[in-house]
């Protein structure tokens, strides 16, 4: 299809607007917040137009410059892609609102305030591109841009700790990029294309393609912080300023996971052999247990929330043996697939809510050590309530998007006889209750809080709003589930 209609324009705008905004923010300097606000509105509108188009008219494909693959590059918006674009738009809008207050230029300019806006917008453009692109090299470019933006956001404060964390992040990310690039080169040499839909026809379940797929998967696993490549994530996510942490934890790993998902379900579904799929899920399960166990041992709120990300990302990998390979033709495939998409969306909303709430607590007491949070339930009820609701979603308790996800994946696990993955869900949920209970108990403890910086109510409303959406995703999950199925490969007509 040739772009030109409104929907094609909207699709391009989701990438072009943040990119343009990023450049503009460099030029305008102190007015970065206003630029970002405008971009957030624009992208929000574009995503709304896209969603309406995809819901009404099905999958939208745009060949860039009118050149079809293998000559050109295609962008595609299916239900999954638009849902993730929507997640990005919602989280970014909240982040922009909080960052505008945090990096206010009223008290003089700071390096962080100046650098944040161009970086966060370039990161957003790259993220949206990972959701839309159908070309593995184009995806590589997006991934690199995403990583660079993310690393810079970690380091933006300039303190020694976050700088070291950013450096470590950079080393891991570069390794991941190299592995990915190597795999892509092998594929291109063998098939003369990196287009996902052409690869789906040409790829063979033979050693060369398997090696290539393995390299790409390893690279993406590093970037998604899959156990045992997770070590870079907690200090990086915890060290960044809170609005940046929200973006890093809620959105950035979803980008690389999204490519992994496209690779195994769309580009090379035939290569998915059971041992590979089980290995991925096994590492995911280990991430759930290990990440949660480490989260239990942290004494700082942001570290707990960051380790929770390691654990929550682990759940996503359970999709591979349940919905991939031979599972693809089974009735439980749809449950596992949809449940995992729900987990990604719900975690995104809840985790952003948590980091924004944590940012407000830091704003109020000046640090995020647990004992310092005592008594905040009285002074900041809205933010604490938002944190609590987000915890409900992360625990997978009803009614929340996390529960819908857990229910669907667990149903698939039992139906397929792979009960061990259900065990991971149960244990992970209980461990999450353990590590999230500690901050909740601290917030509710009876203590006269020390001197507090007052936090405006409208900022407290942001985490509550995001967490409310994570809950709402579970209350009204019918429509999103139908929407996610639009354009799904071999969509089973009915799930379990």
């Amino acid at each position: 299809m040739i772009p030109g209609d409104g929907a094609g324009g909207a699709l391009m705008a989701t990438v072009a607007l943040p990119l343009a905004g990023s450049l503009l923010a460099v030029v305008l300097g102190r007015h970065g917040a206003q630029v970002a606000g405008g971009v957030a509105l624009g992208v929000g509108a574009a995503v709304a137009v896209l969603a309406a188009q995809v819901a009404g008219g099905g999958v939208l494909r745009v060949d860039l410059g009118g050149w079809a693959p293998p000559l050109g590059i295609a962008l595609m918006a299916d239900g999954l892609a638009v849902a993730f674009l929507g997640l990005g738009a919602v989280v970014m809008a909240a982040v922009v609102a909080q960052a505008a207050a945090l990096f206010s230029t009223r008290g003089g300019e700071s390096r962080a305030g100046y650098g944040f806006w161009p970086l966060v917008m370039v990161l957003w453009a790259a993220l949206n591109l990972t959701f839309l692109s159908r070309d593995l090299f184009n995806l590589y470019v997006a991934l690199e841009l995403l990583t660079l933006g993310a690393v810079a956001l970690v380091a933006i404060g300039g303190q020694a700790g976050p700088l070291a964390a950013a450096l470590r992040y950079m080393v891991f990310a570069l390794m991941g990029s190299l592995l990915y690039l190597l795999g892509a080169v092998l594929l291109y040499a063998a098939h003369g294309t990196l287009d996902i839909d052409l690869l789906a026809i040409r790829a063979q379940p033979a050693p060369p393609d398997l090696v290539a797929a393995g390299l790409i998967t390893a690279g993406l696993a590093v970037k998604t912080a899959l156990f045992p490549f997770h070590a870079w994530l907690p200090p990086a996510h915890a060290g960044a300023p809170a609005p940046a942490s929200a973006v890093l934890s809620a959105l950035v790993p979803k980008g690389s996971f999204f490519i992994l998902w496209r690779l195994w379900f769309e580009a090379m579904p035939d290569l998915a052999a059971p041992p590979v799929l089980t290995l991925l899920a096994g590492l995911g399960g280990a991430a759930v247990i290990y990440g949660s166990a480490l989260a239990l041992m942290q004494g700082r709120l942001k570290m707990i929330v960051a380790y929770s990300t390691v654990a929550q990302l682990g759940y996503l990998f359970l999709v591979f043996p349940l919905a991939g390979g031979a599972g693809a033709a089974q009735p439980w495939e749809a449950s596992a697939w949809t449940g995992t998409a729900f987990q990604a969306l719900s975690h995104g909303l809840a985790k952003a809510a948590m980091f924004l709430a944590a940012g407000l607590f830091v704003m109020a007491v000046g640090h995020d050590r647990l004992e310092g949070l005592r008594g905040l339930a009285r002074t900041m009820p809205m933010a604490v309530f938002g944190f609590g609701l987000a915890a409900v979603a992360l625990l997978g308790l009803p009614p929340s998007g996390g529960f819908t996800a857990k229910y669907l994946v667990m149903t698939a696990a039992f139906a397929s006889g792979q009960v061990v993955w259900a065990g991971v869900l149960v244990v992970g949920g209980l461990l999450a209750a353990g590590y999230l209970y500690r901050p909740m108990a601290a917030l509710f403890a009876d203590a006269a809080p020390g001197p507090l910086t007052p936090v405006p109510r409208r900022l407290q409303a942001l985490p509550l709003l995001l967490a409310g959406l994570a809950i709402g995703l579970g209350v009204a999950s019918d429509a999103p589930i139908t929407f996610l199925a639009i354009g799904r490969p071999d969509a089973a007509a009915e799930g379990l």
């Binding site: 949809t338 339930a377 009285r378 009820p381 309530f385 409900v392 625990l395 308790l397 009803p398 009614p399 529960f403 819908t404 857990k406 229910y407 669907l408 667990m410 149903t411 039992f414 139906a415 259900a422 149960v426 949920g429 209980l430 209750a433 209970y437 108990a441 509710f444 403890a445 009876d446 579970g474 209350v475 009204a476 999950s477 019918d478 589930i481 139908t482 009915e494 799930g495 379990l496």
Partner: protein, 485 residues
Amino acid sequence: MAALPILILATALVPAAITFFLPQAAHGVRNGLNLGGATAKVALVVWMLVEVAAGAAFETRIPLAPGLFLLLRVDALALLFLALSAALWLLTTVYAIAYFRGKPDQSRFFGFFGLCVAATTGIAMSGTLISFFVFFEMLTLATWPLVVHKQDRASLDAGRLYLGCALPAGAALLVAIIWLESAAGPVAFTEATDLDALAPWAQRAIFALFVAGLGVKAALVPLHGWLPAAMAAPAPVSALLHAVAVVKAGAFGIVRVVFDVFGIDRVAALGVGLPLAALASVTIVWGSLRALQQREIKKRLAFSTVSQVSYIVLGVALIGPAAVTGGLVHLIHQGVTKITLFFCAGIYDERAGVKRIEGLDGLGPRMPVTSACFSLGALGMIGLPPMAGFVSKVYLGLGGLQSGAPWVLGVLAVSSLLNAAYFLPLLYRLWALPPAAAQPDEQVWGLLAPTVVTAAAALLSGVVAAWAISPLGLASLIVERDYLR
């Protein structure tokens, strides 16, 4: 008509949602909202009672995901629990408003209080297992802020223990549900579920998971530890927890599982009824023994609840018609009786500063209304005729004989003796010992009025048990109509 279940949920949910955002000083708005919601709920439930008696059915479906929906459905059993929760919520709201006068964090309290009631209402009306689970977990979460409401050390410890028990229980329940449904399809309470796809051992394992998952809330030994600890909560919370919300949700769930998920024939065939009855009996005796050792009034009452709630489980596990009737009617009888006792304990604490049983010495003449109500409640728990508790015990005993389990009579006898042993000394202290010097003032109508009403209910539901509209009449109707077809 189909919207009536949703309306009933909304009477609790909407005031709760608004209450959260009210400032502490907005007493008029907050009290008006909560009383209005509670009154509206009572009115709607009465309307529903009339309609159901005329043969109407209420069913509402809320889709969640393909193949997954919340089903709100009102049958006679649901109505029994609904009526209890509606009436006691209204009374507890009146009590709580008086109790919390001048205390901080009222908006938070009444917000979660409303959520808690909404969840209980949802549990009563759930028509499928998964709907039940959703509201069951909502109840777990909504109760925690109430338990830790005072925010002191003891409350937080109690809250941690509560979640530490309730969350793993919820996980066990979820596993049981999904295991069951992955083999048998979605389970609705109306239709018989065909479990034959599962091996008998798997069916037994699922039943055990259900009992473990529900048994924490129902405070079955050895899963009961959280309940006495939760005494750290304010009196209205304890009243609600013990009479209608949490422990009843667990017991009600066990009723549903036995009758509407497995069915009595299958429970008998699997041979899981007897172990459940034995577990309930152990709980009955153990709870009473532990109650005997407590010196704090609320702790003693809490262990008494552990014991009494298992009467419901015992009746259901014995399966015979009289036993089931006795179990179901005890759902109501234990509710009104125990809430009376907790209301009284709250008044003793608030107005006289008395927390331990030694403090009760001679309080009877000084606080005559409270003490009279307390005495009625205590006698009801012992099962003295014509109190409500007597009716329950008679039916349970008869049921034991009917079901070929005469040992139940022994359990009941031992339990009644122990009940007497831990309640009569309190009555002796209240009325027979010389009064202390202080003259406490019990004249707070907001605290007294609900207490008098529930005490009267505990007496009346025993006196008029033979009438068709009494709790016993309703319980017999449920048994005849739904379970002994």
